[in-house]
Symmetry: C2
Subunit: 275 residues, 2 copies
């Protein structure tokens, strides 16, 4: 294993896109190639292309999907020891992914820096070169598959209430639906909270017609990809899990058939509001 030669270690938070290797930016591919250490959740590490012969070995640090803070600390410690570390997210690392977890750890370290009770070790993180590399986020990949459902004003909302009170999620869904945004739902459902998506649909449905177009993208860009075009009324019956992104159209979003395809788009023109 080659050491990063810059003296200062570095830590790079990357998103490899939603799944298709052809959606991973060359900037990210290069960093993945150069890294001495990869830190990530097994599912994302499995999506990486195999190392070519002749490439230096990498140490791979596999974590459970829920241990985000711990994953960030381990990555920062490795970088502080002079290693060239890449933290691997899917999609864009800045959208409900690892960039925030890493920057949060830096913020905690900044808060204690200079205090007498400084936590052992985190001071060394200030010497690490940290950067975040953007990527293709899952909702935009799903939108591209069906045309342009997210072509106009839209929101991205995570339905996970692990760290955010459910009341805040409801308030945001209500506001987004009232203001007629297209709404992309990330983390739409989990084993622990099977009722979240149903409640979200109910809330949005108070402001939006049952025949509002909805796109359900599952494993977009991977071998098991399915992208379904349905309606808000049919969404409760859809097959949705944590690897699904759900996109609910605005009042103007429309579907149509042309040639051999069905398309969904949100027009650029918007009607004058009723006063």
């Amino acid at each position: 294993v080659s050491e990063h030669t810059g003296g200062r270690g570095r830590l790079c938070v990357v998103g490899i896109g939603p799944g298709d290797p052809a959606w991973c930016t060359p900037e990210v591919t290069q960093r993945l190639r150069d890294a001495t250490d990869l830190v990530g959740y097994q599912t994302y590490l499995d999506l990486l292309p195999p190392r070519s012969p002749g490439q230096a070995d990498q140490q791979v640090h596999v974590f459970d999907n829920r241990e985000e803070a711990e994953r960030a600390r381990v990555a920062l410690d490795l970088a502080a020891s002079g290693r060239d570390v890449v933290v691997v997210s899917s999609g864009d690392p800045g959208v409900f992914a690892m960039a925030t977890a890493v920057i949060e750890q830096l913020a905690l370290a900044a808060d204690v820096a200079g205090r007498t009770d400084e936590r052992a070790g985190t001071g060394a993180w200030s010497e690490v070169d940290v950067d975040v590399l953007p990527g293709v986020t899952a909702s935009l990949a799903a939108s591209a598959r069906v045309g342009a459902i997210m072509g106009h004003d839209h929101c991205l909302i995570s339905l996970s209430d692990n760290l955010k009170p459910w009341a805040v999620i409801e308030q945001r869904l209500d506001a987004a639906a009232r203001a007629d945004f297209v709404i992309a739902l990330y983390n739409p459902i989990s084993r622990h909270r099977p009722w979240q998506l149903g409640r979200a649909i109910e809330l949005v449905g108070t402001h939006r017609s049952p025949d509002t177009p909805v796109v359900v993208g599952h494993d977009v860009g991977r071998a098991a990809e399915t992208v379904a075009i349905l309606t808000l009324a049919a969404l409760p019956e859809a097959d949705v899990d944590m690897r699904t992104v759900v996109i609910i159209g605005s009042s103007t979003t429309r579907t149509f058939r042309y040639g051999d395809r069905e398309w969904v788009y949100t027009p650029r023109s918007y009607p004058e509001p009723k006063v």
Copy 2:
């Protein structure tokens, strides 16, 4: 110039990312290489890498930035004649860009298909293979530069009122600010509407503190890139044009200094709402 050999023409709407060639996905690079015809706005075509010696010539069709519908029709006509056409957007083509303009033209063609007053020519479009390839959108690139300001629930809103009534934009800004979304503003200002951004700041400012962190990204990923971290109070004095993306933090977004960098992020944790 080589003809596309598939018989059926094809049309691909791509986004080359916000500017840095290392942000253009391999999928898009491949399509740009294969195309017989590129259709785009001069500024985006200028960002493409030069053709290598030995590559087939391409016809390049340059349009003014405002002629989006015409650009889409020309591209569809070229593809219907059997050519391999790529419509070039910056960023992600599905975010306030050309994907919607192209799909809108297909929708218009679908509407008239089979009618006796069918517009000449558009029937042939139904034979064209159309697809949209996702890319890195500008706000996520700007967010990555400063850490993770868009790391949690956020909205993307275009301030352009060319096709959308200003009253709708105000309603969306108000809803997004009330519900404490991070807000990314695209097309924040134009020569024809110099007051839009000021009015948007005023609206958001009724719900958000003057010291709310704001990121102003200009020409992100290009040679002239500047990314400034400032506050909502200072935003009216910032240098903003149509190549700028403005990101306004939520009530929890914070900035801090650590090592030799200033960071901005929106924490994953959110306080319980006051009842």
